[in-house]
Symmetry: C2
Subunit: 441 residues, 2 copies
């Protein structure tokens, strides 16, 4: 490069790279920083390390042979459609099937109001794109999904966290958060919420709170963005009424096949009020023109030729068994002073450790002891979470989960011993929202 630009922006990146393009980036790009634990993932993914960090679904139960036959047949008979451009909104037959799936959680919707996206991450990105100007506020549970925080940061939205308890989002905390935002002269554009089997918190919004949450948002003119990738993964086959089932006008709903079928297809969807749906389609066109036809047709064919309800039951059993292994091991091994959530669905347990332990600082030592987790700070936009971690039980076998928790308990005991001996250690500055690693999905 022969231009005379000098790096002038005082970003974090300035210290770590000699990037001749540094002065050219958009302001939003400064907020895109790599997860600090990403560098550890190469180590954490070694076979001897038990990873309780990732959010990869367990696909072992999928019927690959019959899928292989169906997909081969699909290419042979409908290949000219599967390999061609399609509509930006997605294939209509799939959108009809999506409406049938959403009906399981009480949603009545028309396929015209569904937009198929490249995973629900793209849905989240599109919703943020059409609603958030820089400086707008997004309300989100604290902690919240790391990939959502990454999207909000990419659009320079400010996240204000709202407290949860064992029954999910606390209505009074929501009222107070809106009041605080309003008093600061800011505008809360939407509430981003994961009502069922929360990632990372592992809790579920009590059904008795749902109408109240919606009423508060409607009262203050705050849109609700309901993210529901785990809703069908209740361990007893239970489902809860979606927020969208109460309110079709003020809720944008995000769904996904990543946890109920196959994450690698990247097929998710947004159900939105009609006028919002029009904007979403335009936004999606500028983002990818259209979602892949092949992956949509694979999902559609799977739904029409396989016992997908039975497959979801298998997933429920798989994850329940692993949840039981994790809770049992936590009960058995963890030192006094730890507390954790007891999920009845989904992939995650949220663990709070005693005063004196910094989960982010401890992570390299945990990996040395051959166990990995996701430290809590990644799930907050405001530097909280240093005494928390997310433990995923979705992927390893029950035996490995038990062994992983045993190792984690030993690391924690060592940390606590150090703390009792030397007192508090200076904390490192904690960064803001971090981009997700795929392994953290």
């Amino acid at each position: 490069m022969s231009n005379g630009d000098q790096p002038t922006l005082p970003t974090r990146a300035a210290g770590r790279s000699l990037d001749p393009h540094l002065a050219r980036y958009a302001a939003r790009t400064a907020g895109m920083t790599a997860s600090e634990i990403r560098a550890l993932f190469a180590v954490a993914s070694r076979p001897e390390v038990v990873s309780l960090a990732g959010g990869m679904p367990n696909l072992a139960a999928l019927p690959l042979d019959s899928l292989s036959a169906e997909i081969g047949e699909l290419i042979a008979t409908e290949g000219l459609v599967a390999l061609q451009y399609g509509s930006a909104q997605g294939i209509v037959g799939l959108r009809e099937q999506i409406c049938e799936i959403m009906a399981l959680e009480g949603i009545s919707a028309h396929p015209d109001d569904v937009v198929v996206t490249v995973g629900s991450q793209m849905g989240l990105d599109m919703v943020t794109r059409i609603f958030c100007d820089p400086g707008d506020v997004v309300l989100a549970e604290g902690p919240s999904y790391v990939g959502a925080l990454g999207s909000f940061a990419a659009y320079q939205a400010n996240v204000v966290h709202v407290a949860m308890d064992d029954n999910g989002l606390v209505p009074q905390a929501l009222r107070e958060a809106i009041a605080t935002v309003t008093a600061a002269g800011k505008r809360a554009k939407f509430l981003y919420t994961i009502p069922n089997f929360h990632n990372p918190a592992g809790v579920t919004l009590a059904v008795s709170r749902r109408a109240e949450i919606l009423q508060i948002c409607a009262e203050y003119g705050v849109l609700v963005v309901e993210d529901n990738p785990y809703g069908l993964l209740g361990f007893d086959g239970q489902t809860y009424p979606a927020l969208r089932s109460y309110d079709r006008d003020n809720v944008v709903y995000l769904g996904s096949f990543s946890k109920t079928f196959a994450a690698g297809l990247r097929v998710g969807w947004v159900l939105a009020p009609h006028a919002v749906r029009e904007r979403l389609v335009l936004a999606a066109e500028s983002a990818t023109l259209c979602p892949p036809a092949l992956t949509q047709m694979v999902v559609s064919r799977y739904l029409s030729t396989h016992d997908w309800r039975g497959q979801i039951k298998l997933f429920q059993q798989t994850y329940r068994e692993r949840r039981d292994a994790m809770l049992g091991a936590l009960d058995q091994y963890l030192p006094a002073g730890c507390s954790w959530t007891r999920p009845d669905g989904g992939f995650y347990v949220w663990l709070t450790v005693p005063e004196g332990v910094d989960t982010k600082a401890m992570l390299p030592r945990a990996i040395t002891a051959r166990v990995a987790y996701a430290s809590g700070t990644g799930f907050y936009a405001d530097a909280l979470g240093s005494r928390q971690m997310r433990l995923s039980f979705c992927y390893p076998t029950p035996e490995r989960i038990k062994e992983g928790v045993r190792r984690l308990a030993n690391v924690l005991a060592d940390e606590l011993e150090l703390y009792r001996t030397f007192g508090p250690v200076a904390r490192r500055a904690v960064s803001g929202p971090q981009s997700p690693s795929p392994d953290l999905a």
Copy 2:
């Protein structure tokens, strides 16, 4: 919705919808408007209409039977990878193959500097995301790709067009455009250019101009974004050295399998200087977490098991035959005063009609006469193009192309007759950049 918001934004949309969410949208959303010809597409896609509007590749020559077998085999043997989350940057084996393909146009690159995207549209969106603040200037040929204009509008970048002639982008016009932008106190972030078989103009940047274009951009500190979906579709098998082959530090290169293999897989890529690549990966993570594993593996397997060079030769023959049909029919049928480009590759002819014809106003009449085209205004951000249209020869058969041009010639003759009789008609206000319809890709 029970909040008290009233629609207050004086947007185009205000007049056409009763959208209770209108006051909530981000400023950028006002720039996302549907193509005015979209409503016509339902009519234009009827079998009796010859569509010269779409950019859909012709897939009839693809070997569906062997693809079916390979993809079935892929699911059976590597299904747990194909259906699982992957890396945000894309599968490494595919990135290696992409480097081999780019070598055909003189590019020497490392797979580490390649990011796989959901079509090159997503690459374009990510490049704009990391570089463009609202109000930044993007230089682009006039006319330019409608999907690029849609992405630039989504990030509120301002497009300044640079003139082309039959040898592509005019170096002196580029110098002048940069000077004008600089004099206005604005900053041109990058030049977006399609050097080979331009969409929609059908021209190719002369090889003798390439070094000069790069030198000008380097001199003024303007990044070059080279979009090259058609480079391997030269009708005589000819290729031209990519801009990236001259300059690895100041060029971001966008590639695609949509025109050389299968658009419906939505597999494209970005090759970027290393530091920029890091930012692109972070941006892509927040957009979709990762591209679909399945579609990447299908492309990779196709490249390793099929004679893809032979397949590209088949595509070249297919499109050359159609180009010949179109140019022959234009010579034979069009009224005096029309001029058009004579592409030696790609999908498109750019037609200029005589004074007195407004191609956008004429489109409904053309569709009534059972021929469709893409009016020129969609390819400009600044209201030009009303005397131009894009004619695509990629999809219909040669016979249909000939019949379509014959119909178009009749419509043009009628318009000119009207003009001679009644004089100029009041023009409708012309809108800014419009979002692409997939059919316009």
